[in-house]
């Protein structure tokens, strides 16, 4: 894929509500044709950031550039962005057709073209024949698609989606995740989605900005976020993780993390090391599928990718719980220092038959431990 052009640039944007800083000097760029997600817990400022882009809020500082033009001060109805609201915000007194045509009528588009474009939009969201219905006659999923069609029919440069799937039940939500992704490919419009659901962001987005307390902590592809989180918050917000904390001890090329009861080796080229000095509080993040569990009798799992004991960090423990998840099995292990760790094993692999009470050694390859600052 050719490198994409920058479409939106958010520069030092701050928004306060009274004493609360909802968005705190945020910088980000969003590229043309990208599916970009703002991900974070409720109250992290992601919705405020989207509403700043839509024009429903005015920033206290900073610039919001779209195609190089500053949007600050431009009324919402003069911005080439359209938004799909969490509540869908369909006009209850209008038919589906009139809802979708509303935006085109504001542009003074001709009658014939309106008819054609509304029909296309209805077909796009697979609601052909629903034009004469009213919003209250539709199911939740149908309303959601009308809201989508109403925003897309304007052919905006950016489509903003505020928690678009939150009101749907789980099965429909999973379907719609793929549907939205397909739609974005079809229409070739930049999608900016706000969500608190990490799975949603991971499935749909090309890049994700993880937000917490008004700041963007990391912008990365789903893979990068999962494999190389840059902070403890990102690591624990995206997927499950085991976090081992301590103080960083640097001796030349080698580094170790000194915890209360144990010392862990840190990978030499660990990306997180650059910003950390000797003695800093730090944590090592290990994903459950990277944490191997084996009966204590066999000191090393036979099928472990690296047989070299020197390349492993190890801690012993006892299996406390086994969670069946269909194709995988999750062990909750109580480690010797009293903390708990999660390990995930594919069913059918070695070590999928442990039972609660089994004494085990848990190990991970040093290179799979991600070093992050422990803020």
């Amino acid at each position: 894929m050719e490198p994409q052009r920058e479409l939106i640039r958010i520069e030092g944007v701050t928004k306060r509500f009274g004493h609360i800083v909802a968005v705190d000097e945020v910088n980000a760029t969003i590229r043309e044709n990208e599916f970009f997600a703002l991900l974070g817990p409720s109250g992290c400022g992601k919705t405020t950031l989207m509403r700043l882009l839509a024009g429903f809020e005015t920033p206290d500082a900073g610039r919001l550039l779209l195609d190089g033009r500053d949007l600050v001060g431009v009324r919402p109805y003069r911005r080439p962005l359209n938004m799909m609201f969490q509540s869908y915000a369909l006009f209850p007194h209008m038919t589906v057709y009139d809802n979708i045509a509303y935006g085109l009528r504001q542009e003074r588009v001709g009658r014939g073209e309106i008819e054609r474009r509304v029909a296309d939009a209805l077909a796009l969201v697979q609601l052909t024949g629903f034009g004469r219905r009213r919003p209250h006659q539709l199911s939740g999923g149908e309303r959601q698609r009308v809201a989508l069609a109403r925003a897309l029919v304007k052919r905006p440069k950016v489509l903003l989606l505020d928690e678009p799937l939150a009101a749907l039940d789980r099965k429909l939500r999973v379907e719609m995740q793929l549907e939205l992704k397909r739609l974005q490919d079809t229409v070739g419009i930049t999608f900016l989605i706000v969500t608190h659901d990490q799975e949603e962001a991971l499935v749909m987005a090309d890049r994700i900005a993880v937000m917490d307390r008004g700041r963007i902590l990391q912008v990365a592809t789903p893979d990068e976020l999962y494999e190389a989180p840059n902070s403890r918050f990102v690591a624990s917000f995206i997927g499950e993780s085991n976090i081992f904390t301590g103080r960083l001890s640097i001796a030349g090329d080698a580094a170790t993390l000194v915890g209360e009861r144990a010392t862990w080796s840190v990978a030499p080229g660990a990306p997180g090391r650059a910003g950390l000095v000797d003695g800093a509080s730090a944590a090592i993040v290990v994903r459950p599928e990277r944490l191997h569990v084996a009966r204590l009798e066999s000191a090393l799992p036979v099928d472990h990718p690296t047989m070299d004991a020197g390349a492993l960090n190890r801690v012993d423990g006892v299996v406390r719980d086994v969670v069946y998840l269909g194709s995988t099995r999750k062990y909750v292990v109580e480690l010797s220092d009293g903390s708990r760790a999660l390990s995930r094993v594919q069913v059918g692999q070695r070590g999928d038959d442990l039972t609660p009470g089994t004494r085990v050694s848990t190990t991970w390859a040093i290179k799979h431990g991600v070093l992050v600052p422990d803020a």
């Binding site: 429903f56 109805y77 359209n82 609201f85 915000a89 369909l90 209850p92 109403r150 925003a151």
Partner: protein, 263 residues
């Protein structure tokens, strides 16, 4: 078959029946008497519509009725416009209980207090300083004062269910604030606004105390009725009262229906 003596359904049903009887028996008597040919409350001499005919040919009554309809219509239109905007402002901009209370007070203080206050104010400013005479206009303004309160309260109940993002969606789709109000906000709250207007009109038409104090020499319909019964009840009063009951009933029913209907 044994009937439980303590069955709450039966008790509440009986209670409802008795209350309705208590509320409507006097009105029923009035309606019956309005058709009594003799015109006396003690003797029934046959069915007649002559008292209605008498009302329709009485210029004083008709003149006062026209005044009342003018006052009702104009004060309703003004109070509905002001009250609707006030409701929007209070619902959107503030969360202040004191302000809510201040807006509501003119509607719930005794009429006599409001009437005296208005009269003093009129005497001081309009008749005293500007040399204007009290008349239709001063009753209209007085009715606007208390009707703003009721319109605001009724429209606010409608706005409480209003999803503000619907307006934002309209702005987002390219409509400016004026178009958004005209095409989105107003049509959605319109049933509440009409309901409020019906209540305001009913209140204005029935209103006596405030009108009596602020009308100067102008005679409104309730004032006319009052002056008629001061010199002994005439059978025409029964006919007039029956018409008023009927009109009020229809207006209130229509208002309730509109306000209940949720889109």
């Amino acid at each position: 078959m044994r009937i439980s003596f303590l069955d709450p359904g039966r008790w509440l049903g009986a209670h409802l029946g008795l209350v309705l009887l208590f509320l409507y028996l006097p009105i029923a008597v009035l309606i019956v008497l309005s058709f009594n040919d003799s015109g006396l409350p003690t003797t029934w001499t046959g069915f007649s519509t002559r008292w209605y005919e008498a009302v329709l040919t009485d210029d004083k009554i008709l003149g006062s009725a026209v005044n009342t309809i003018i006052i009702g219509a104009i004060s309703t239109i003004i109070a509905t416009a002001i009250g609707t905007l006030l409701a929007l402002g209070l619902e959107r901009l503030t969360n202040n209980a004191l302000l809510d209370g201040l807006v509501f007070v003119p509607g719930i203080i005794p009429d006599i207090v409001l009437a005296i206050a208005l009269l003093s104010f009129y005497n001081l400013v309009f008749t005293g300083m500007l040399g204007l005479k009290l008349g239709l206009w001063s009753v209209i303004v007085a009715h606007v004062v208390f009707n703003i309160t009721f319109v605001t309260a009724i429209v606010r109940t409608r706005l409480r269910h209003f999803d503000i993002s619907i307006e934002e969606a309209s702005l987002d789709l390219g409509a400016n604030e004026i178009t958004t109000f005209r095409r989105i906000t107003l049509p959605i709250i319109l049933p509440g606004v009409i309901a409020a207007a019906l209540v305001a009109f009913t209140l204005s038409v029935d209103e006596f105390v405030v009108a009596f104090f602020t009308a100067g020499t102008t005679i409104t319909f309730p004032i006319q009725v009052y002056s008629m019964i001061r010199f002994g009840g005439t059978p025409e009063i029964n006919a007039i009262a029956t018409v008023v009951v009927f009109v009020s009933f229809v207006l209130i029913l229509a208002s309730q229906r509109l306000n209940r209907e949720q889109v």
